[in-house]
C-alpha cells in the first residue's frame, strides 16, 4: 500500500491548555488532532497537574514544513511557565494527502 512520510508531533501538557493549544495548532496548519488524557511525572513533579484535571496528550500529524513553527510556538509560549513537553517522530501514513 502506498504510504507517505510525515511527522507526528506529540505535545503532553496541563489540561487547562487544551483549548488554546488545539486552536493554535489548527491555525498553524494542522488538519486534525487527537487528544487523550494521560498521567505521569516529570521534572516539575506531579505538582504540575496540581490544578484539577488530568494531563492531556495531543497528537497531530503534519507536513515536515509545519513542524518548526509548532515547536517554536510551544517553546516560546508554554515551556517557561507550564508543564509541557513536545517531541517529533517520522511516521508512515496512508492517505497522506489528508494531513497536508
Amino acid at each position: 500500500m502506498h504510504t507517505t512520510t510525515l511527522n507526528l508531533v506529540t505535545i503532553i501538557a496541563e489540561p487547562v491548555l487544551e483549548e488554546m493549544l488545539t486552536r493554535e495548532l489548527r491555525q498553524m496548519g494542522a488538519r486534525g488532532f487527537t487528544v487523550t488524557e494521560s498521567r505521569g511525572e516529570g521534572s516539575r513533579g506531579i505538582r504540575a497537574s496540581d490544578v484539577p484535571g488530568q494531563n492531556i496528550r495531543i497528537e497531530v500529524i503534519v507536513a515536515p514544513a509545519v513542524v518548526p513553527a509548532i515547536l517554536a510556538h510551544v517553546s516560546t509560549h508554554y515551556f517557561p511557565q507550564y508543564a509541557v513537553i513536545a517531541f517529533v517522530q517520522a511516521v508512515e501514513v496512508v492517505r497522506g494527502e489528508k494531513y497536508i
Binding site: 496541563e14 489540561p15 487547562v16 491548555l17 483549548e19 488554546m20 505538582r47 496540581d50 490544578v51 484539577p52 484535571g53 488530568q54 509560549h77 511557565q81 507550564y82
Partner: protein, 325 residues
C-alpha cells in the same frame, strides 16, 4: 445553646466527620479515592439542586426583599478580592501574580462551604432565606474577574488568555447549573417542583447523602495537600484562617444591614469567608501562569475550607446572633 455546645454539635455532624475520614484515608495512604467522574457527577447534582430550589423560592420573593441582600453580595464580591490582594502584597510580601491568584480564589465563593452553612443554620433552627442560591450565583464570578484584572494589568499577562478565561468563568459548570437551575426553578414554580422535590430538595435525604460523599472526597483532596502546608510558610497559614474571619465578619455585618435574618447573615458571612476551588484554579492557571498553584490551592483547600466547616460557620453564626441582639 452556648458556643461550645454549638461547636461540638457541628463537629459531630456528618459534614466535618466525612471530611475528617477523607483526610485520615489519605494520611494512612489508603488507596481510596472517589472516581473522578462520580465526583464531577455529584458536584453537578449538588449545584443543579441548589439552582432549582433557589429558583422556586425566588419566584416567591418580592424584588424589594432581595434587592439589598443582592447589593450587599455584589459589594462583597468587589471588596474581598481587593482586600486579599492588598494584604498579601503589602503585609505578606507576595509577588503580584501570587497575590492576584490567591485573591481570585478568596474573592469567589465555595459552593460546598455555602451548603455546609445552609445545613448548619437549619440544624440550629435559624433557617436562611430561600433566595440565598441567587446570592451564591451573584458572588461566584465578580471576585475572579476583579483579581484577574488586577493581575493582568500589573503583569501584562498574555492577552489571548483573558477573553478565553472570561468566557470560561461565565460559562463554567457552576454558572450554567446554578443560573440555569434558578431560571428553570422560577419558571416551573411550586407545581413543577413538587414532581421532582424528592430527588432535588437540598433539605432532603438524597441531597445530604450525596453531599456527604462529595465532602468525603474533598477530605481526600485536602489530605493530599497537607504536606504542602510546610511549603507555603507561616504567613499564608495564618492568612488562611484570619482572612476568612475578617471577610466573614464583613459578610455577616453587610447581611445584617441588608435586612437578612440571623441565618441569612450567617450564610452570607460564610460565603464571603470561603475561597473557590472549582472555578478559580483553572482560570488563574491560564491567566496568571507565574502564580504558584501550591499557594492558592493549599490555602483554599487545606486551610480555609476545613477552618470554615469546622469552626468558621459557628463563629459567623455567633457574630450574626450578637448583631441581631
Amino acid at each position: 445553646m452556648g458556643l461550645s455546645e454549638i461547636l461540638r454539635a457541628n463537629l459531630l455532624s456528618p459534614i466535618p466527620l466525612a471530611f475528617a475520614l477523607g483526610v485520615v484515608a489519605k494520611l494512612v495512604r489508603s488507596e481510596f479515592t472517589l472516581p473522578r467522574d462520580i465526583y464531577t457527577g455529584l458536584s453537578i447534582y449538588l449545584l443543579f439542586s441548589l439552582g432549582l430550589k433557589g429558583g422556586v423560592e425566588l419566584a416567591h420573593a418580592s424584588p424589594a426583599s432581595i434587592a439589598w441582600p443582592a447589593a450587599a453580595t455584589l459589594l462583597l464580591g468587589c471588596i474581598t478580592p481587593i482586600t486579599t490582594y492588598l494584604v498579601l502584597r503589602r503585609l505578606g510580601r507576595f509577588g503580584v501574580a501570587d497575590s492576584a491568584g490567591i485573591a481570585a480564589h478568596y474573592g469567589s465563593v465555595s459552593a460546598v462551604t455555602y451548603i455546609a452553612a445552609m445545613s448548619f443554620t437549619k440544624a440550629v433552627g435559624a433557617d436562611a432565606e430561600g433566595f440565598m442560591p441567587t446570592l451564591l450565583a451573584l458572588l461566584e464570578s465578580p471576585g475572579i474577574h476583579i483579581a484577574l484584572a488586577i493581575g493582568a494589568v500589573k503583569t501584562a499577562s498574555p492577552d489571548r488568555a483573558v477573553g478565553h478565561v472570561l468566557h470560561e468563568v461565565l460559562t463554567g459548570r457552576t454558572m450554567v447549573l446554578l443560573v440555569g437551575g434558578l431560571v428553570i426553578g422560577a419558571l416551573m414554580g411550586e407545581k413543577g417542583w413538587t414532581a421532582i422535590e424528592t430527588f432535588y430538595d437540598p433539605k432532603g435525604a438524597v441531597f445530604k447523602g450525596a453531599l456527604t460523599l462529595f465532602i468525603l472526597e474533598m477530605g481526600v483532596v485536602a489530605g493530599s495537600r497537607l504536606g504542602d502546608l510546610r511549603k507555603v510558610g507561616p504567613f499564608l497559614l495564618g492568612f488562611g484562617i484570619i482572612m476568612p474571619i475578617l471577610h466573614g465578619a464583613l459578610g455577616v455585618w453587610l447581611g445584617h444591614l441588608a435586612g437578612l435574618s440571623v441565618g441569612g447573615a450567617t450564610v452570607l458571612g460564610a460565603m464571603a469567608a470561603s475561597a473557590s476551588y472549582i472555578a478559580a484554579p483553572p482560570a488563574v492557571r491560564i491567566t496568571l501562569p507565574d502564580a504558584n498553584p501550591t499557594y492558592y490551592l493549599t490555602a483554599a483547600l487545606a486551610i480555609t475550607f476545613p477552618f470554615n466547616i469546622l469552626l468558621g460557620i459557628p463563629l459567623y453564626y455567633e457574630m450574626a446572633r450578637w448583631l441581631a441582639g
